[in-house]
Structures are given as C-alpha cells and as structure tokens.
Symmetry: D2
Subunit: 372 residues, 4 copies
C-alpha cells in the first residue's frame, strides 16, 4: 500500500494509516506524503518508509513501482490530499492499474466523477471512497433492518451534520480565513459545508435505505460576508411521491463536535443513529418498547457482526469503522466474496458529486428544485 498526501499534521492521512494497520491487511511501503520534498522525506523517514519509495510526485511513484516485480509493488494507493488533487491523481493511478482508496468528495466536478466511474469500470479495479461512517457496525445493521422491510412504508428521512470548529477560523484574523484550504474555492471546490460534511449525510441516507434522492431544494449561507463558500445550509429532499426528507448541515454551530445523525421513519417502525455514540441504534415503534441494538450480539446481521471484534460493551470507534472499509477493500482486491455494503464505491462518489453540485445550483438559482 502507498499513500498520496497525509504528511505531518494531516489527521485524515493518519487515520487511514491506523485503519490499515488495525485491519492488518496492508503494509504502508511508499508514497508521496507532502508536495514539499523536504517534509515529504522527513515524514517518510519518521514512518519507517524506505527512502527510495518516498516519491517526489505521483508520476515517479507510478513509474518506479511498475518497475518492481508484481509481488513487491504497491497494490493499493490511498489518496488523502486536498480535494482538487483527487481527480488527476486518481485518474493517473487507475490508468496505471493501481487499486485506490480515495477521500471524499471524490472530485471537483460531476464530469470528473463520471469519468472516474468509467475508468474504474474499464480497468476492473477496486475503488473505495471513504465515507467512513458506513463502516460502523450499527450503520450496517440499520441498512440490513431497512432492507428487510421492518419499517413498513418509509415516510420521512432526516439527517443532520453539525460542527462548530470553523467558528474559530472565521472569527479569527483575516489571514486565517484565506489560509484554510476548505474555504478556498480553488482547493475545496464549489462548497465547504455541503461538500465536506453534507455529502456524508447524503451518503448515509442512500447507503442505509437503498433509496435514491430524486430532487433537492437548498438554502445555503456563508454566515459571514467575507466567506466565499457555504458554511451552513438546509436541503429539502424528495425521493418520490409522498416521501420527503431533509438534510441539515452546518460548520458554525458552536460546541457541536461531529454531530452526524440519521433518522429513517416508517409507518411501522423507525431507526435513529448518532455518530458520536455509534454503538447504539434505536428502533422506535408506536406499539412496542423502543429497542436498542448494540454490536457483538447474535441478533445482529452478519455485516454488523463482522465489523466489531471485541465482546459486547467494549466500545470501538471511528478507526475501527475505517478499518472495516479497508478490510472490504482487501477482500475485493483478493477477489474474495464481499457484501456490496463493505465499502462505498466510485458510484457513491458520482452520486455525492451530483448532490453537491445540485445543492449549489439550487441555492444559486434562488432555492428551486433541482434534479439529482
């Protein structure tokens, strides 16, 4: 396994490395961790990477690795750079035959996303998009319970993703705002809040329900006049006749840490889950006591159970969720059977890009309905 991005100070790169070690399926042997060559080398050394596999750019990584014997070369590359680099790097690496794990949002434009989807299909490679939250056992259990039809008619879907961390930036000095890549359209793309976190809520909805959102209407806000992208917004959802929903996302809710929640309401029962307490899945009914599903119990389905390794009551967290995705990727690369829910695919990436761009379009046009 190799890595692009994720050098000193990059928390998401560190998360990918830990997750790959937890699942014990991959060994990090090379990469390009930082565009600054010195930092790149230092970081590689600190991680115990051989200097000759610390590459100055993606092209040299491809060239050198392909020159190695098949059994020795990097099989999987994880792309954990700022958003703007996802597409070009992914395109090159897929072209050269590498399997990929890519951070979301997958690309900057819908066209790029569609192009990657085509490339993955042609090359028959494994491509996983790290909507990490799909790796939680109780999210997988939620998907299974819904798929079994236990909710009756699904009647309302409500997802939330609230954070507050960006307050410290937008109320800091001016240079803070300009210095944060997530607030720079060139690096982050057309959206901050919806592109970074709203899209996770979108993905969880489609992942757990198996439904497609058909149309959206959004109202976004930069919150402060000197901010160029959305930091807050609400998106009305339509799935078809008589099924509506909402996604609420914000980066300016002081004190909210990583408040991703999803609730799917049916005519017979409903399911609720919150990321900050990921080992609790609530099933509500009008006629039965509320039930709390937890990991490591025989009453769960296989997907939930295989994603939790400790006995019941020993909490696992976000790293283990990401490790579950890496384990699915390993199965796919080896050609083993795996459940389609074991990792988000390039198609989920396409859906996500369509969502982000539709949301921005709806808002720009004056809060009108836009088809996804």
């Amino acid at each position: 396994m190799g890595m692009i991005g994720g050098g000193f100070g990059a928390f998401i790169g560190d998360a990918h490395r830990r997750a790959s070690r937890i699942c014990n399926e991959f060994e990090l042997v090379g990469g390009m961790f930082d565009p600054d060559l010195e930092k790149n080398k230092k970081f590689a050394a600190a991680e115990g990477i051989s200097p000759d596999r610390c590459y100055r750019d993606v092209d040299s990584l491809i060239k050198s690795e392909l020159a190695l014997p098949a059994g020795n070369r990097i099989e999987l590359v994880s792309i954990v750079t700022p958003n703007a680099f996802h597409y070009p790097y992914a395109k090159s690496l897929l072209g050269a035959g590498f399997h990929l794990v890519c951070e979301k949002p997958m690309t900057m434009t819908v066209e790029e996303a569609l192009d990657l989807e085509k490339t993955v299909a042609e090359k028959k490679l494994t491509f996983a998009l790290t909507h990490t939250y799909t790796g939680y056992p109780m999210i997988r259990q939620m998907r299974e319970l819904i798929n079994k039809g236990l909710l009756g008619n699904i009647q309302r879907i409500d997802a939330q993703y609230y954070q507050g961390w960006i307050n410290s930036i937008i109320y800091g000095t001016e240079s803070r705002i300009t210095g944060v890549w997530r607030l720079d359209p060139k690096q982050a793309g057309v959206s901050s809040c919806m592109g970074d976190i709203g899209v996770h809520a979108f993905n969880l909805i489609e992942y757990t329900t198996g439904l497609e959102i058909k149309e959206i209407l959004s109202d976004l806000s930069p919150v402060k006049d000197d901010v160029k992208l959305d930091l807050d917004g609400t998106v009305l959802l339509r799935f078809g006749k008589n099924l509506k929903g909402v996604i609420r996302a914000s980066q300016v809710c002081a004190g909210e840490e990583n408040g991703l929640t999803i609730a799917v309401y049916g005519s017979k029962a409903s399911l609720k889950w919150a990321q900050e307490n990921p080992n609790y899945l609530y099933m509500l009914s009008d006629t039965e006591p509320t039930r709390i599903f937890k990991p490591a119990h025989g009453y769960n389905g296989k997907a939930a159970e295989s994603g939790h390794t400790m006995p019941a009551g020993h909490p696992e967290g976000i790293y283990e969720a990401l490790a579950n995705i890496y384990r699915g990727v390993a199965k796919s690369i080896r050609g083993e059977a795996f459940d389609p829910g074991e990792f988000p695919t390039v198609h989920d990436g396409v859906r996500g890009m369509k969502f982000i761009h539709s949301v921005v379009e709806s808002n720009r046009k004056g809060n009108v309905w836009v088809k996804i």
Copy 2:
C-alpha cells in the same frame, strides 16, 4: 374559572383543570363542557360543578354569570374546544369582559387572529394562549441566557416536532380518517401537522430568542393520497441577513412520542433542549465543557426558578409547565407585576396564525418564499 369544551375523553381539557388546581389560583365553578347536553351535564356532575352553572351554550354562560355579583362570577374562561370554535367563543367572551385562556391554534384565519388582538387591546383583558412548553423552567432559562447575549452571534436555529400517533389512524379503516377532527379541514383549519405541532416549534423559537422569523419556504406532504391535510413538512426559515434556520414537523414518524426539540446555535455558545427530558438544558461551547442546566439551582434566573417548586432532582413535568402559565395569568388578572414571558399572549397567537397560513401558502405556490 369556567371552561368551554374539555368534557369526557378530552385530554387537553383535563390538563387545563389539573394545571389550574396545581397552581392553586383558580377554582372551576362552571362551564359548557360538551355540545351534547346530556354529556355536558354528566361531566359537570362528575366534576362537582353545580348544575345551574353547567351551561348549554356560551351565550347562556355569559348571560347567567354576568347576572351574578362581581365577586362570585367566573373571571377566567378556558377555551379548549376544537380549533374552529376558538374565535367565535373568544370574541363573545372578551366582549362580555371575561379573561381568557385559549388553546392553540388561536383561530382559523389570520384576520380572526388580528381581530382578537384588537379586541384584547381595547378591552384590556388578560388573554393567554397555551403554548404550554413555554411554561417549562428550562425553556425560560434558555430565553434568559439568550437574552443575556451569552451565545454571541446567533447563526442557526433548528426546531423539530415529531410524533407518530397519526399512523394508527391513517392506516386504520377509512372511517377512522374521516372521524378524526384534526384531519377535517372544517374543524382543524388549513393544516394538520403545522397547525397542531409545527406552530409550537415556531413559537418556541420566537419565545426563546426574541427574534422574528421574516420569511419561510415550506414543503408539506399529506403522506397518503386519501389525507386532505399536511401530516409532515419542513420549513426553511430566514430571520435576516446570515441567519437561517429550519422547522421540521411530522405526525407520521412511527415511535416518536412528543419529540419537540429546539437548538439555537451561536458563534460563542449554543443551547439545546428536548421536551421529553424537559429538565435538562445543554449549553455547548467550542472551548468549554458542555454544561447542563437543571431546575432548582441558584445559577438559574428568576423565571426558571419560580417555575419549579420541588428541590433539585425531583422531576416536574408538563402539568407543572401549564400550571406555571396559569399562575402568570392569575398575576395578570390581579394586576400584579409579572414577566412578559410568563404566558404567551394574543400577539403570539397572531404570529402563530401568520406562520401556519404562510407555510400553507408557500407549499401551495410551489415551495416559494413567503413573508410572515
């Protein structure tokens, strides 16, 4: 004190009677509890009401009571009928000089609401609209903390009111739907979900923040083809530049009991409260541990403290919240000083009616922005 409506089987009338007894400011001495004369008499007897003050209609109540000496007659009338009767009865009773407590929604139309507001002003009578949730101590504390400016810039407001009870009706026999007055436009008005519960969320927002919602955009759903009113909906809110929010309400969320919540997010701190656990108010901050405010503590303001009579840790509930409103009404009738937050007024009723009608209008026009 007298009562209109609230006979056998009417839970809200019973709640008003209990609340008035808890605060110990009023004695129920007469009323018209049921349009069916026999049931009316039976109910009055069961409540220990003198038969000669069990009236066949509102006019006879007015006439007979006014004939009594001032000290003996009913001072306050509580109107707890289906929605359509609120306005005509309130109009007559105010005209005759009675103070009123009225269930919400206050009227069927905005015009009626404005007319009542004018009448109350002219007559200088006390008029309380029972947005009961404003009687909870921690809601009053929330109002005070916001009013003190502790949140910094308010940046997002999110309120929810989810219930599931109507599933048993809409999936029952056809006659069930037609037999429920809340689903009959003639009795319930233009809206079911927004008129019955969404308006509570609206009221809590304006009550706790002191802000006015300027514009709304709604998307409502009857959920089933044979239902004539909205049972579910989302309302986008705008309060002014850079402050947006959302109200989410539904009566078809299986297993949700009375899921009213409100969150007000600021640049410095945020506040969250949920009706089902009303004695917990959460204050979030990016830099401090989350704080939980509870009743019966010296750190609370006067409005919160006076609304809880037991020592800390002895839970009080919805009846006590309503009793707090009745106590405020008693103060007002006696001409004592009281805090403007002690009971919702006819003006809150006007705001509520404008909200309900704006929401219905926005939805009917294709989900466009409508001024409140």
Copy 3:
C-alpha cells in the same frame, strides 16, 4: 382532608397538597399547619382555610371535627411533620377514626411501628405511607414485569440513593448543623441518611420484587467528626440462598440531586430505573436488544397505565406520582377495589423501621449481620 404540619417553607406539605389537588379526590378543609399559632393561622388564611378549622393542636382538631356531621368532617389526615411527631399524632388520629396519609419514616422506633400496624388492623382504617416513588408508572410496571417472572432467577439487586445537599450545611457554620432537624437525633431518630433516603431504596426493592430482605450488614459514616448521625453508608443485603444485593446511600455526594436508582438482575433479563428520569424503564437481556418501556402505551400493565394521564411523550413527574398514591387512598376509603400496589401501607412502614434500626445496629456492633 386535613393536614398536620406542612406550613410555610415546608416543601413536603406543599407536595401533598398539590398531589391531592391533582388527583382531584380531596379538598383540604382544615388542619394544624404549624406549632406556632400565629404562623398556623397565617398559613391557613393563605390557603383559604376557614379560621375555625385551623386548629391549635391535634386534640382540638379531633374534638372539633368529630363534633361535625359525618358528611362534613375531615375523613383523611395527612401527617407531614418532623419524624418524632408521626407516631403520637397517628396514634391519636387512628384512635379517633381518621384515615391517614403519613410521611416516612413512619415512627421513631420499631415498637411504635408495630403498635400502629396493630391499631390500623383493629380500626380497619386506611393508612398510607408516602413512599412516593412507588407512585411512578414505570415502577409499577417494573413490579408487574418482575411479578410475571420475566427475569428468570433473580440474582442480584442493587439500589442507590445519592444526594449532595447536606454538604452546604455541614460545611456551613456550626449553628447550621445544630439547626437542621434531620441532623438532630431527637427529631430525626437514630439515622439521617438511612432513615431519610436509604429506607426509600429499601422500600423500592421490596415493592418491585415482592421479596423480603432477611439480613443486612452495614457500614455507616458521619463523614465529619461533628455530625451525630450517619450521612453516608452501604448496606449488604441477603434475601436467601444465592441472592444478595446492596443499598448505597449518601447525602454528601456533591452535585447529586436526588439520585435514587434500582436495578434488579435476573438470569434471563434485568430491569433498571432511575428516579431522575422516571419515565424510562430499561429491560436488558443477553440475547435481545435492550428495551425501553415508557408510560402511556398499550404494552404496559394496568397499574402503570392508570398512573399516567397524558399521551405518550408528555412527561409527568413526582407530583403525579404522589397523586397516584392519593388516588389509591381515595379508592380504599370509598371501599372500591384497588391493587395492593396502589399505596404503601402501615406494614411497609414497619418493614422500613426494622430496616433503619437493623442498619444502625449492624453498624454499631461493628458491621455484623443483623436479621430484619
């Protein structure tokens, strides 16, 4: 209904009055609210009691009320004085044929308790001891679920009652300690913590399980050298072979408000409840998702359902719990059928006194087993 004690500043007397009004079965018409005659009169006036039924002592209450026609006189007397007065007043009032509601602990000694039990049996009067927490719907549901045998073999019982309010007294000035009747053995009896709150935990165990505690071993602490009674303690419990348990109680746990909890663990399932969130009853199992029982649902038994009047999700609290006990008392006085769980009896009072005295004895003798 009449009342002894409960004048200005007495929170428990106020609670009894509110509860009696909520259930709407009694009207407070007379009493002796304060041993200070002036305060007594002022308080009676403030409550709207006729001056000629504001009595200077219990004897004059008895004499005057018995002189009234049967239908007009006080039927039920609530005794809400400091502990030392419970027995003599109860004895006199029972002797004169009054039904009683009495605060706990019922008496100062076990002998007094047994004497009252004998008197109640002889006089065939209704006697209710206000272990208020037995009035909560979910405690009644807990009793029913256990009684149905759903837990399998009961294997462990654990109850807790933690408060912190006494810290402000014992770390205040010396006069504060001497001025609080709960810390004065002459007024409070042999125990502070176990007599005031530990006994509630004891009662809940016997109430919900129907089991009798056979033996106890206690370790108590005054916490500070200048305190004469226990403020903290742990009590080991034995119910019979292979069933043990524990009661933990303290008045010096800073920040604990009214932390009464009970957990009954069985071989098949377990039940957990906490007074501060009284509308949630948790049923745990090794093989099924945890279930949360809440009031106002068809899945509850009759005792739980009749104790909650609002629809699901509208929280009721401690006043309603106490009102449920008063309603049971009314049924008993009228000779109606009632469930034995509707109010704690004089026998529960005897058990409680035995518990308190056994606990003190065990501690005094050096933490040895004592039979109850």
Copy 4:
C-alpha cells in the same frame, strides 16, 4: 515485540496485537501463541510470523532470541495466557532481560506478585500490567482533575463492574461450566468475578484518586451451587477516617455488557465515568451546572489530550486505550520521559493481587474486615 498466548480464538491477544499496531511503536516478530504446536504454527503463519520465530515454549524463545544481535531481537514480550502462566513466564522473561506487558491478574498469589515486583526493580526493566481502562483519555483527565484538588474533601467512592455473559455458561450444560477456564480454580486462581473484573474497579479507584484502600469487607456469591468460584460480590472499602466506599461486581447481571463505572464524590464537586461511553466525563457540583468533559479539547490536561488523536466528536474506543498504554511502554523502553500514569506497573499488579486475596479472605472468614 513477541507474544506468549493469544492464538486462534483469544480475543485479548488480538486486542494486544491491534493496539500495538495502532500506536505504531512495535512490530510483532515472534512468539508462542498456543501450547498446541500445530495451532501455534498455523497461527504464526496466518499472522505472517517467520516460522523460525514461532517457538514451542518460552525457554526456546528466550534462548533463540538472545542468540540474535541486540538490534534484531524481541525487546518486549506480551503475556496474554490464562492467569496461571503469568508468573512463571514473566519470571523467566524478566530474568532474561525482556521488557514485559502482562495481562491481569498479574499472578496467582500475592507472594508471586511481590517476587515479580522485586525482580522488575532489580532488573530495571519496563513492566506494564494491562489495566486497559487506564488508557482512556477521560480516565486520565479524571486522575488529573482529582490530583488538582478540584473535588474538595473526597467523601465517598463507588465503583461498579457488572457483566452478564457468564449466565449462558452456568445455565448451559454441566460440561460448559467445567470447560471454562475462568471457573476453574487451578487456571483462574482464587476468584472469578473479583479476580477478573472486580480488580479493574479496584485499580481504577487507586489510579484516578491516588489513594490507597486500607481495609475491605466482602460478601461474595457463587450464585449457583455447582459453581466453585465467586460470580458476584460487594466489597466495602475504607480509605481512612471518614472516607468509605464500595466496589460492586458481578458476572450474572443479564444484559449488562461491560458495565464498569466509577464515581468519586467530594465536598465541592464529584466525577463520574462509565466505560461503555468512555468519551464522557461528568463533573457534578451543588452550585454549578454539571459539566461534561470530552476528549480533544484544549481544556483537558496533557495526559488526556495525548491519548486521543482524532478531532473532537470522532469516538475512539478500547483499542485506542490499549494503544495508549503500549505507547507509554515504548517511551519507557526507549528511556524517554513519561507520565507515571501512562501505564500500570508491577506495583499495581501487587496491589491487585492483595485486593483479590483480601476479598476472598474476608468472605471466607465470614465477612470481616481485612487489611490490604
């Protein structure tokens, strides 16, 4: 790093391997994973261990590794066998100069424990006992807040460890009971419940408060007649004058998963923590709102902060707690500065063995006080 025990089906060995990979300080290069040679080899192969470092016993591991150049040989050995093997293996390995991580309980007897303590001191080696829960950031924060004196006088300490998993064994077939090593005194030692889990509660108390428990009085139960060891018990604690406490532990509480909790109550404030929701630390006070400390915030001390690597709101769990301990061990081996709280030492192991044996002695002698 090498490992003794932890082959197929051993969850705790797997946990140690994952933790060592997460902290990225160690590489597993050899060991003796199973006394069955075939299983041992198979397991080593599955883990990618070189066959020549898969040893048939501890002696051959020592001999072969010592024959390797210093830089290549195993530095640290993790002992994750059944309890009876901890002491002999630890003794041999320390004698040969290996640093150790050892599962608890450390030994079978107090004498063995004292002997290991002496050996560690003489050899100046690093020895960590995996009381894993001390690796949680909020437990480290709890220790720091107490150490700073924020609680005032500590007045009561209450720890609980409830599980239910053993029900399925003791109510299974007879062979199940005899087949489980934890229920066999030869393999598990003198205690099941207190030795396996009660000792964790004991350790957390001494770890977080820095206090020593002086005396205990216990009441244990085998729960079923055919069980030879305690499955349930309560332990009264004395720390000195006016400070008492309790440890409650059980393996027969149906539905309890891994219910370890600790509460330390002071005169000014109190702290509460529960293992199943390890990222929440509650600070209670009589005069301030309850505060919730969470990881990844500037308000925490260094020990808590360094133990959580993700941003706030991204839950980390038990594996990360264990990884924190391994990271401390690595620092110690390298001779870097580290906080004494970074890993439990051989002295904690001695204290634990004394606790277990005192508890068993107190129970055997008829529930009397025994000095630790």
